[in-house]
């Protein structure tokens, strides 16, 4: 293989000089000198050569700013390119998220890896295919229309001698704009797309050979740890360096309120960070968990926004026989990455390189460039896999920590956060509060619906980086957590609907995107409240939903999920609730979402038991029917859906960031528990493939119906309506005692 592998590029490090005319990665690495990056490869996302290179041996390298954070993009994107290029996936290498090598066609997130990342690469590959066919036409002296590409060869459709694509283009540039009209392969003839091909990274992940950012090192590298204050807004008053004199070769780095240690030995850095005596000022600026609902409801509002305004719900409600209202709450939650954030930075006078598992290398480069005054052409940000991040965890902060420490130490520095850093300081998924009102008519149709949401407002600029603020360096203080206001309206026919957002100015803790931002909580409220209306109308929850739907794709997923679990039509709660004598109550729940109102169709059914004496919920079975348009890799897609279900069950059953007036207090896995193996349900997933439709993302959509399906099942089992996450045994038990 003569292609440039990721590993070779990594080995070459920040000093890589890649010559695409020469091709050989080893040679490229050998040419490395200084920190200067001499990359002649195009990066403009309108150019074919920015996205791919066909090498002399017929192998292909893809370049993308979308990274595979464990979701399977690494195989799916290869499949999409392989289909167009007529080569096996094994011949494709991928470079992900390297500001010196990959075009910036968006960061990773919002389930855009396939619909944006993969689709862009596919279109570049389709354009390249046309060019290769033209080259082949010249070589084979036949019209391009009579040619195809099979197994890396341009061949006549009628059979006969072919020409290797590697020989036709062989490391030369295409020099073409991506043609948005270049025709794509006919889905009816897909040979690679739609196949459950194995992900290339799994064997290395299972044998300790996969290079995570946590595993990356450079010669002369120091290990760094940062000491965060005991209260979020505390100032550093004094440091007693004598307190760590017994630990070898440690250097303390203090920049205003930024306090860190570096040492050649990692354990020395860990111990020094733990044992270094520092005095901090008092600070008590948080509302504390108990005051959170009031903080949100009574806090200053930046603006009110009507997202949906149809008919006159207030008037309709006043004339409806049955009116209902309820408040739903979702707490602050942590990304809780299993491995704490980590980064390696090498700050040199002639250029800075940062290795990180950020989900947005280009965005991070722009931000670090602004903050540290390093020109973008002297700053290279390279993605390496980390622990799953599910959005903006502590990665960007760790990258800045590494830059600060490397700059101070004059050496490359690797910073890994400790567990309490990650749980305590990662930016959180925001708390959400929703008031719902609704009414149904005598036939059980929704006649009016109102949703009021309190959500933290977005303000322009990057999220403030912890170490940068501490070090007293000027930076933006933007705020945002993604598209958090979607899916706040019922996906069912209703003549009078209003959805209003009160965008609040303040959030107690720093926030960021956390998987399916906002939509999990919104869908929890909407689909639980739908269940409340169905129950009040005395109608089976599935029948109630179907009554308000005409879209055949919606109806299909709902029927599939219901069939898979053996759904028996009857209203909730279960008739056995009143008569049940034993400790174990059994029920089933249903939920449906049209993700982001216009994307995936997902329906979910769940069976639970609830232990009356303890309030413990056991999820027995989950069925999910999922329609995301064209399926690229069904096995990888299933893995995402299964993971979405389990992770969101964890969030719904267990997770709440706790904080007092000064700090986050849920700083390990005991105080911020997540779902464990004995709690895992049986999961059945049905994929509904739509080969002629565009592919949608699938890293998020199936998270959205989980909490409502769970809450609805608990209601079915017990008659208790749970409206606040997490559904801890204590909360369930207290609710059961009351009812």
């Amino acid at each position: 293989m003569n292609n440039i592998s990721r590993r070779d590029l990594l080995r070459a490090g920040g000093a890589v000089v890649v010559s695409f005319a020469l091709g050989s990665p080893k040679r490229a690495a050998a040419q490395a000198s200084g920190a200067g990056v001499d990359i002649r490869k195009p990066l403009d996302p309108h150019e074919v050569d920015s996205f791919l290179a066909v090498h002399t041996d017929g192998s292909v390298t893809l370049y993308t700013s979308h990274v595979d954070v464990g979701v399977g993009l690494r195989i799916a994107m290869r499949q999409m390119a392989a289909e167009e290029l007529g080569i096996p996936v094994e011949r494709i290498a991928m470079v992900e998220g390297d500001t010196a090598l990959t075009p910036d066609h968006g960061g990773t997130g919002g389930s855009t890896g396939i619909p944006r990342g993969g689709v862009d690469v596919r279109q570049a590959a389709a354009t390249a295919r046309q060019a290769l066919l033209k080259l082949g036409a010249v070589q084979l002296q036949r019209p391009a229309a009579e040619l195809t590409i099979v197994d890396g060869q341009v061949r006549p459709l009628a059979g006969g001698e072919g020409a290797d694509i590697g020989k036709l283009i062989g490391d030369r540039r295409f020099g073409l704009k991506v043609d948005s009209k270049a025709s794509l392969q006919d889905p009816a003839r897909y040979a690679v797309v739609g196949k459950p091909l194995l992900r290339p990274d799994v064997p290395e992940k299972c044998t300790g050979k996969h290079v995570y950012v946590q595993d990356y090192s450079l010669p002369g590298m120091l290990h760094g740890r940062v000491i965060r204050p005991p209260a979020i807004g505390a100032k550093l008053l004094s440091v007693d360096e004598g307190s760590i004199r017994a630990i070898p070769d440690v250097r303390v780095v203090r920049i205003e309120n930024f306090l860190g240690v570096v040492a050649p030995d990692e354990w020395a850095a860990v111990r020094a960070a733990r044992e270094l005596k520092a005095t901090w000022s008092e600070w008590q600026g948080l509302p504390g968990n108990d005051g959170l609902e009031r903080f949100i409801r009574e806090g200053a509002v930046d603006r009110h926004q009507d997202l949906v305004s149809r008919g006159d719900p207030a008037a309709a409600l006043s004339t409806t026989d049955k009116q209902f209202s309820a408040t739903y709450e979702w707490p602050l939650q942590s990304h809780a990455s299993l491995g704490p954030s980590c980064a390696v930075a090498d700050v040199r006078v002639d250029g800075t390189t940062v290795w990180t598992s950020t989900q947005g290398t280009h965005g991070l480069r722009a931000n670090l460039s602004k903050i540290f005054g390093i020109p973008v052409d002297k700053l290279r940000v390279i993605y390496l896999d980390g622990s799953g991040s599910y959005g903006g965890n502590g990665n960007d902060d760790a990258a800045a920590d590494a830059v600060l420490l490397s700059k101070a130490a004059g050496k490359p520095v690797r910073v890994q956060w400790m567990r309490h850093d990650e749980h305590g300081w990662d930016p959180k998924g925001p708390a959400q509060l929703l008031d719902l009102r609704g009414g149904v008519d005598a036939e059980g149709r929704i006649v009016a619906w109102e949703t009021e949401m309190w959500l933290p407002t977005s303000t322009p600029g990057n999220r403030p980086i912890l170490g940068v603020d501490a070090a007293g360096i000027a930076q933006a203080h933007g705020q945002g957590a993604g598209q958090i206001s979607q899916n706040g309206d019922p996906p069912y026919a209703a003549p009078n609907v209003r959805v209003t957002v009160h965008w609040t100015k303040e959030t107690p803790l720093r926030i960021s995107n956390l998987r399916a931002p906002g939509k999990i909580a919104n869908s929890f409220a909407v689909e639980s409240f739908t269940d409340e209306l169905a129950s009040a109308a005395g109608i089976d929850p599935v029948a109630f939903r179907l009554k308000g739907l005409t879209d055949p794709r919606a109806i299909e997923v709902i029927q599939r999920a219901a069939d898979m679990i053996g759904w028996q039509a009857r209203p909730s709660p279960s008739p056995s609730v009143a008569s049940a004598q034993g400790n174990l109550l059994t029920g089933r729940g249903f939920s449906y979402v049209r993700y982001k109102q216009a994307e995936n169709y997902v329906a979910m059914a769940m069976e639970v038991t609830v232990e009356r004496t303890t309030g413990k919920i056991n999820v027995q079975r989950v069925t999910c029917a999922h329609d995301c348009g064209l399926v690229i890799n069904p096995d990888s897609l299933r893995n995402q859906i299964e993971g979405s279900i389990v992770q969101t069950l964890s969030r719904a059953l267990h997770e709440e960031v706790k904080f007092d007036r000064s700090r986050v207090t849920s700083i390990d896995w005991a105080s911020y528990p997540i779902l464990t193996f004995p709690e895992m349900p049986a999961i059945e997933v049905a994929l509904i493939d739509r080969p002629t439709l565009p592919p949608l993302g699938a890293g998020e959509a199936s998270t959205a119906p989980v909490a409502a399906a769970l809450g609805n099942a608990v209601f079915d089992a017990t008659g208790l309506r749970l409206r606040a996450i997490p559904f801890t045994p204590a909360r369930v038990k207290a609710g059961l005692m009351r009812s």
């Binding site: 799994v202 992940k205 044998t207 896999d385 890994q416 004995p678």
Partner: protein
């Protein structure tokens, strides 16, 4: 500096540590270049750092290097390679039982430890055997299927 001798993946090694309380994890990762075991919490709560010591899964993030002296340590690397994976590793690959893969080391070591003691576990025994290992991506169903598959091999 004090030296510590132990068996590592079937070979004798001798390493120095300035601190006898240094967790084995840092020794493996930084002195011996074995990156299979991962730092997850440093509190023995998540299992990402698991290694086998005398055949039994232990949390290397809290296992002092001095206690490793004279014992047989196996790491993920000792079980197999991408080209020649061990039985449990091969089952994990077959089931695609990883997403980010950061917990995978712990899952495979816990599974190996379980199968060493209970070669034919029930589904419940597998779930209990992995109860102390955390996976944040939610790959639980596949991990359990992989262990069941390995048990049949």
């Amino acid at each position: 500096m004090p030296k510590y001798n132990f068996q590592l993946n079937g070979r004798s090694v001798s390493i120095e540590s300035w601190d006898p309380a240094q967790p084995l994890l840092y020794v493996l990762r930084n002195s011996l270049g074995l990156h299979g075991a991962k730092f997850g919490c440093g509190l023995a709560q998540c299992g990402a750092c698991a290694v086998l010591i005398d055949g039994k899964a232990q949390r290397s993030c809290v296992f002092p290097v001095r206690q490793a002296a004279g014992r047989a340590v196996s790491t993920l690397e000792g079980l197999g390679t991408p080209e020649k994976p061990g039985v449990v590793q091969a089952a994990f690959v077959a089931q695609q039982a990883a997403q980010c893969g950061y917990c995978t080391n712990g899952m495979i070591m816990a599974a190996k430890s379980l199968l060493n003691q209970t070669p034919r576990p029930t589904l419940d025994q597998v779930k209990q055997g992995l109860a102390g290992n955390l996976c944040r991506c939610g790959t639980h169903t596949r991990i359990v299927q992989a262990v069941m598959l390995a048990a049949k091999a």
